[in-house]
Symmetry: C2
Subunit: 271 residues, 2 copies
């Protein structure tokens, strides 16, 4: 968000409030997500709902949403506030879609990308788009930076979904196979379902609802050792390239170089 404001003015006070609003909004969604997913660890430490009641967790998440809305109002930009509200709706909508499609294997690449757009990439897009708006960038630049944020967000989530199969549990701070254990079908498992129809492990893991840990572990190994990983990382690299391409019309300055480096980082990270 701060880098996206690096092509026009740089109203630091208002940018910092917006950056804080986005960070707090993200935290609010994580607090509720971890409750919904029953996750006990996040970033290697205990999740809130594993320490206090589910009720208190709901309210703390709500409080953080409120604080994000308040911080956002302190940007004093009506346009930024409207985008902020719409983004939060899209995030909730994405989570509801995920909740109600758990165990549903009628997934396509298109539906997968739409789901991760709502779940993850909308917030990246909002960060770069609103940073550009607050800086007073022109409309072409705002659109380019919005596209950049969207594509980086999609690439980030695809890699995240790959790491859920091949990541190092120590580095990730959480066990692998979490998605399959919750009946969430992401790109690597989708590839196996569609391209290795004779393999039943992924389908069995989804059907067992994550209850049978042995079945989940077998499916995770099948996906991790299949071409699904190379295919998924190829999709992520394509998205990362499109993100960098979106920056082509912007001034070639330090902000742009840093944004390009971020687009490369999200597809090369290992945790």
């Amino acid at each position: 968000m701060l880098l996206a404001a690096g092509f026009a003015d740089y109203p630091l006070d208002r940018l910092v409030r917006l950056a804080a609003a986005i960070e707090v909004l993200h935290t609010a969604t994580l607090v509720h997500d971890d409750l919904i997913d029953g996750a006990t660890t996040r970033r290697g430490t205990a999740t809130l709902h594993s320490l206090v009641s589910g009720h208190a967790t709901v309210l703390v998440g709500d409080y953080l949403f409120a604080q994000a809305a308040y911080l956002c109002s302190r940007t004093e930009s009506v346009r930024v506030m409207g985008i902020f509200g719409q983004t939060l709706m899209a995030i909730c909508d994405g989570e509801l879609q995920q909740l109600f499609s758990a165990g549903d294997d009628r997934m396509t690449l298109e539906r997968y990308l739409e789901k991760i757009r709502c779940k993850t990439a909308e917030l990246f897009q909002t960060a770069t788009q609103t940073g550009a708006i607050l800086s007073g960038a022109d409309e072409d630049q705002i659109a380019a930076l919005a596209t950049y944020g969207l594509k980086v967000g999609l690439a980030f989530q695809v890699v995240d979904d790959v790491l859920d199969y091949i990541g190092d549990e120590q580095t990730l701070g959480k066990p692998v196979g979490g998605d399959l254990r919750q009946g969430t079908l992401t790109l690597p498992a989708l590839w196996v379902l569609q391209n290795l129809p004779s393999d039943r492990s992924v389908r069995q893991a989804l059907e067992s609802g994550g209850e049978d840990e042995g079945v989940v572990r077998t499916a995770v190994r099948t996906v991790a050792e299949s071409p699904a990983i190379a295919y998924s990382l190829g999709v992520a690299r394509q998205l990362s390239m499109e993100a960098r391409a979106a920056l082509a019309g912007l001034p070639d300055n330090a902000s742009r170089a840093a944004l390009e480096a971020i687009a490369e980082y999200v597809v090369s990270r290992s945790s």
Copy 2:
């Protein structure tokens, strides 16, 4: 909110968006409250969490918060949006206080009023205050209408807490004694604790954590038949009078007459 906008301009489109934002915000808090309280009925019909999973209920509440923030941004008033965010923080703070003070009998009238201010009266105040702001009322009028909303909200909640002891279950759409059953100490029970120290029924109901229905029913009867009811209704009537007094400096028009009638209604209602 609409009546509070009746003393200056009346920008209907923006007022309707704000009224919708406040209604949706209220609904969002009810969705999460009913989940937290384990309430199965609201307004005589099944609550959302009794029909779908707790997880979906959290997300639907979040979605409604987001929609409220978006509707609020469409008022195009930075000031209104700031107040909206702060109000939502106060509401969550009030709920967290209630959650963490459940079973705590070191309550005073002052702490009780502070709690119901956060829980209920803030939203009433926000409605009248922001309605006045959007209408372009002068600062004295905005302050007067904010005070009116606050006092009406406090009076409303005191009566609500009385009805939880003496209301008709059919008319209320929910069983009496709900507060005590959840370990929530409101004004009528507080009066009994402080003024009838030899009576142990309320303390026993709080200590049983609502587990023992017989104990709860005895305590409800004790409170309902004590002077606590007349005392609490006296507090509500005082607040209602202060609400009407706050309107004294406003033009004597139809909006003011209706606001005065509302202040009277909240202390005379029976459901």
